[in-house]
């Protein structure tokens, strides 16, 4: 059954003003039910968790732990304690880097990765091996296989979906091959999480992380999933309250998972908000969500390919435009327009109430690989419509007119 987009939009107060929000890869908007859940928690249940004997503390603890169960079911992990609440996807990755990686360990990354799935491994002084992409932006799996045979790889850290190109690495294939070579796999699901169903047991990934705020939930809460036997062997990340069993004058014993990785007061209201977002999303069939967003992205590719001088990445030098029906893409696409800097473009679009992101989108290695300093990204959410994409295309034409003026013969220096 097709989604009732108009009814869905009606649940997002921020969209009431007619805002065209196409920056969902940065953060998604929140439905009223999520906002209400957080408000209700503060109004009726607010207390710290796992600390008090009073009834209110118990209510807060139950609500917080119920959120953990909701996440467990959402990604189908085998055990509740495999779900760790963090402040966001970035902290989740840092927990793995801190606890699983030693200096000089070999890690495979892809050129598609977000800085948050690059820098944590660098801080641990791991040796990095990079998988490149082909002309269509898909991972070069032959590269990957070659590195696996040449080096003793500890971990493959890979995105589930590019936050720039929208391409999706073949996770199952990568995980099987990595395991066969004795390597573990970490999946950065920051982008994937809001667009496709994830089943960690079926994928058989060893770690997976995401943030609540890209999933129509609040900021300040993220999730780290890890296989129980791996998490149990890892040292804690942040020291403090909650993450200990016992503290003496000379040392401490860490708590069991998941508390071992949740030092300090956790994001309680945010976890409860995330629970509400997951419940809200569960009312839709994943197939319907995927179909709607697939239609949106194809419509965007089709419409934007008509714009003179606009080039959808990764075809960044004009020699080739990407296919109209690109089933591999999901969530977003990015583009450049010859002679218009993405910041000028998005500033003007913003004046028209259209929100797009410009810059390197925290993927400097990918932009360097594509030989461009910056790009403009259109990223989709469940509430976006084809009409919004048409309005965007018109606005891009108008912005081009403003920046470049009337003279068609005048060509500005291309972004280089």
């Amino acid at each position: 059954m097709a989604l009732d987009i108009s009814a869905i939009r009606g649940q997002f107060p921020i969209l009431d003003s007619g805002l065209i929000y196409l920056d969902n890869a940065a953060t998604a908007q929140k439905p009223q039910i999520v906002i209400n859940a957080i408000k209700e928690f503060y109004e009726t249940k607010n207390a710290n968790v796992h600390r008090g004997m009073h009834g209110l503390a118990e209510q807060a603890t139950v609500a917080y732990e119920n959120a953990r169960i909701a996440v467990q079911k959402f990604i189908n992990s085998a055990h509740t304690e495999e779900i760790i609440f963090t402040k966001g996807c970035t902290e989740s990755i840092n927990i793995v880097a801190n606890g699983f990686i030693h200096p000089d360990d070999h890690i495979i990354l892809s050129i598609l990765e977000h800085h948050s799935n690059i820098v944590p491994w660098m801080t641990k002084k791991a040796e990095l091996h990079w998988i490149d992409i082909d002309d269509a932006g898909n991972l070069n799996i032959k590269d990957f296989e070659k590195i696996l045979t040449k080096e003793k790889i500890k971990l493959v850290a890979i995105t589930g979906q590019s936050n720039v190109l929208g391409t999706r690495p073949p996770l199952k294939d990568i995980i099987q091959k990595a395991h066969a070579a004795g390597a573990r796999v970490f999946v950065d699901a920051a982008q994937l999480i809001a667009h496709h169903q994830i089943n960690v047991q079926e994928l058989d990934c060893d770690f997976l992380s995401f943030s609540g705020h890209k999933l129509y939930g609040p900021t300040g809460v993220g999730v780290l999933y890890g296989k129980r036997e791996l998490l149990e062997k890892m040292p804690p990340f942040i020291g403090g309250g909650m993450m200990i069993k016992e503290v003496t004058l000379t040392g401490f014993t860490p708590a069991d998972i998941p508390q071992k990785f949740e030092g300090g007061t956790p994001p309680i209201a945010q976890a409860i908000g995330l629970n509400a977002a997951i419940d809200w999303l569960a009312q839709f069939n994943w197939k319907d969500v995927e179909e709607h967003e697939h239609n949106l992205i194809n419509h965007a590719i089709q419409t934007m390919n008509q714009i003179d001088g606009l080039i959808i990445l990764p075809s960044c030098h004009g020699e080739k435009k990407i296919a109209q029906d690109d089933t591999e893409r999901s969530g977003c696409l990015s583009f450049i327009i010859e002679g218009i800097h993405p910041h000028d473009l998005t500033d003007i679009l913003g004046e028209h109430g259209i929100c797009l992101r410009a810059g390197h989108h925290c993927t400097m290695p990918l932009h360097k690989r594509l030989e461009i300093p910056a790009s403009t990204r259109v990223s989709f959410g469940i509430y976006n419509t084809k009409e919004e994409i048409d309005i965007l295309s018109d606005a891009i034409e108008r912005a081009r007119h403003i920046i470049q003026g009337n003279s068609k013969s005048y060509k500005l220096k291309a972004i280089s």
Partner: protein
């Protein structure tokens, strides 16, 4: 008032004092004696987050700045502000240049600059200030210092 006012776009489309100089023709960053009492200064600054890059070059003679030239890539605001700065502040004294503030640049642009475009509009000023620091053999100033100089 519109950020993309005609005067800004005019400078962006037809930048003043902009000329590329091959890398090999450039003296090292900082000062370089060119003979006599004329000193050639070059300095580059960038906003990596945007991909904006500017390189500023000028001569110093009799405590004045002469022959300002620049090259770079970036958004309309960064490029236009640099063009305006080069045009307006040719032949000023070093003391005057050292005392320039963001307000001078905002006045040249003639439109309100929102926080998100602050670094775009001030990249040229930042490059000029740090070029002068290299001339004076002083440590470079930070972005926070450049932005807060008129407060």
């Amino acid at each position: 008032m519109d950020l993309y006012a005609e005067n800004i776009l005019d400078h962006y489309r037809h930048p003043r004092h902009k000329s590329p100089l091959p890398k090999e023709a450039l003296p090292p960053e900082g000062g370089d004696k060119e003979g006599g009492d004329r000193i050639f200064i070059t300095h580059s600054e960038s906003n990596p987050a945007c991909g904006d890059e500017l390189q500023i070059r000028f001569d110093i003679k009799d405590d004045h700045i002469h022959n300002i030239h620049w090259d770079g890539t970036g958004c309309a605001i960064s490029q236009a502000a640099m063009s305006m700065l080069a045009e307006e502040f040719e032949n000023i004294s070093i003391d005057y240049a050292v005392a320039l503030t963001p307000k001078h640049i905002f006045d040249l642009l003639g439109v309100p600059i929102s926080p998100r475009r602050l670094k775009c509009s001030l990249l040229g000023l930042h490059a000029l200030k740090n070029a002068l620091h290299t001339y004076h053999k002083e440590p470079l100033q930070t972005w926070t210092e450049t932005i807060s100089e008129d407060q």
